[in-house]
Symmetry: C2
């Protein structure tokens, strides 16, 4: 069975032939900014170049319902209305078996099928990037939820009257632990007169995960404080998830963690400090890195009935 995995992101589309955890031929294109039709055409073109497949899996931003309809993908230009992505791609490629899920669920599928959580029945994943997303596998099954909301762990509350989140909510974990929120906090402190290597290094450009890693290596106190607060926020939500759904195993990934692997141990310690002895979950680094999206999308397609 030939399977292609597609990782549809806000800036680029990755596609590859995948066999289990092994990635074969790859293709990469910038994400078309003129709406769903152009994106579907780009995916179909890459699939053709890869020689086609029996099954196709796609990870995408936004909420995805059981029929593969994408609703609300703010990172994709022109996707304001619901897009029946699975049906459109099936039509454009001639592949009948097309599976679509949100990017976080797909990355979770990848880690559970072929990565750091292989063989674990109860798993929480947390991916720290521009925002923070996460997935849940309970009793061996990916939890999708009746409204496709699972993945929104970044919007779990850690401080009920705390910092304003980009979504408008108060005190959400992402408001402390997302890269964009950490950058905003660094710039706020810099504007208030605190010197920090973060702004010295980034200037007016986007403050990348690597910038945080370098500033921390420079012993920049602002970077250290911002990251400590991020670690505590993630640890707090991990502890809350343990008490709410009893997950003993956590996979931590995403761009921020790739540049700062020490966060894995730090988050484990922060969660353990908030839990009774014996209840602390095992926290490990995600294993699939940049390939999580395509490997997970292929695993999703392979799991189709």
């Amino acid at each position: 069975m030939d399977v292609i995995g597609v990782d549809l992101g806000g800036t680029k589309v990755l596609a590859a032939t995948v066999d289990g955890a092994t990635v074969g031929d790859r293709r990469k294109r910038p994400t078309p900014v003129d709406g769903p039709t152009a994106v579907v055409a780009a995916i179909a073109g890459m699939v053709r170049e890869l020689g086609g497949a029996d099954r196709l899996g796609i990870g995408t931003p936004g909420y995805v319902d059981d029929e593969g309809v994408v609703r609300g993908a703010p990172n994709l230009a022109g996707w304001d209305e619901p897009v029946p992505l699975a049906a459109l791609v099936a039509e454009a490629t001639g592949i009948a078996a097309v599976a679509v899920d949100n990017d976080v669920n797909v990355a979770t599928m990848g880690e559970v099928a072929h990565g750091a959580a292989a063989g674990r029945p109860d798993v929480l994943t947390v991916f720290m990037g521009t925002g923070v997303g996460g997935g849940l596998v309970l009793g061996g099954e990916l939890r999708r939820g009746p409204r496709g909301l699972v993945g929104e762990i970044g919007h779990v509350v850690v401080e009920r009257d705390g910092r304003r989140c980009a979504c408008g909510g108060r005190g959400h974990m992402e408001a402390y632990a997302g890269r964009a929120a950490m950058e905003a906090e660094a710039r706020r402190r810099h504007a208030a007169g605190e010197a920090t290597a973060l702004v010295d290094r980034a200037g007016d450009r986007r403050m990348k995960s690597g910038t945080f890693a370098k500033a921390l290596a420079d012993r920049d106190p602002v970077a250290a404080e911002i990251l400590a607060e991020a670690v505590d926020a993630v640890g707090c939500v991990v502890a809350s998830a343990v008490m709410l759904v009893d997950v003993p195993f956590v996979v931590l990934g995403g761009g921020v963690v790739e540049k700062l692997p020490r966060l894995v141990g730090d988050v484990a310690a922060a969660a353990a400090a908030r839990l009774d002895d014996g209840l602390a979950p095992e926290v490990v680094a995600a294993a699939l890195g940049d390939d999580a999206g395509i490997v997970g999308a292929a695993a999703l397609a392979a799991s189709l009935p």
Copy 2:
């Protein structure tokens, strides 16, 4: 099939014959304080008085594992070591089919099988009593978790550096919304010089749920503030649970809610205020009241293979 449900509490043991949601003959005894053997004998005596049964379900405080072994039940005197309650009761009664689960899971089973959440596949229950417990039904299945931790929703964080919880943790929901924590806060404010009808009414006695209801009816400002903080804490955790596991339906129960039914609407509003439009869960009052334990325990027993 004759089924008996048993509700084993810290102060009393209730047992009854149960047919679906209909409770027949009832028995009640004070909970023996001299350890598990006496409790098992009390249950066996009540079962004899009720004429025996084909199946028996028991709800108990503490963590309960898949084999019906009770671990850590601080409300039961002399239960410091693990107690194989299902096996002991089966031996004492001659009933082979004995199911044991913690009291919160059992009450959740009752509400889902025969109460306010009948027919709902994805449900969160929150029971506000001395502490705050809760259960989760996901995809039609009661979530028990590999370590039997589900139910511990009271220890989800709402304020990461907040009030100290009875368990030792920081800023847990129960530290704001449990009756015992609310009483402690009322007495702290009274000791600090604030007049409150709560202490006037309760004196040195335990501050019951009804005392909070009466003080609120008296427009006591301290009672109003303490309850507003409790409502916000529960609403906050409900919103977090929506983002973490996507539950669209919440059952709110327990002694505090029975005396203050307006909390149902208040918690619904507090959760909705923290969620995007369209994501607010439906929040309803528990329907089984004091019978939730015995009806749920019987439902648990009836669900045995």
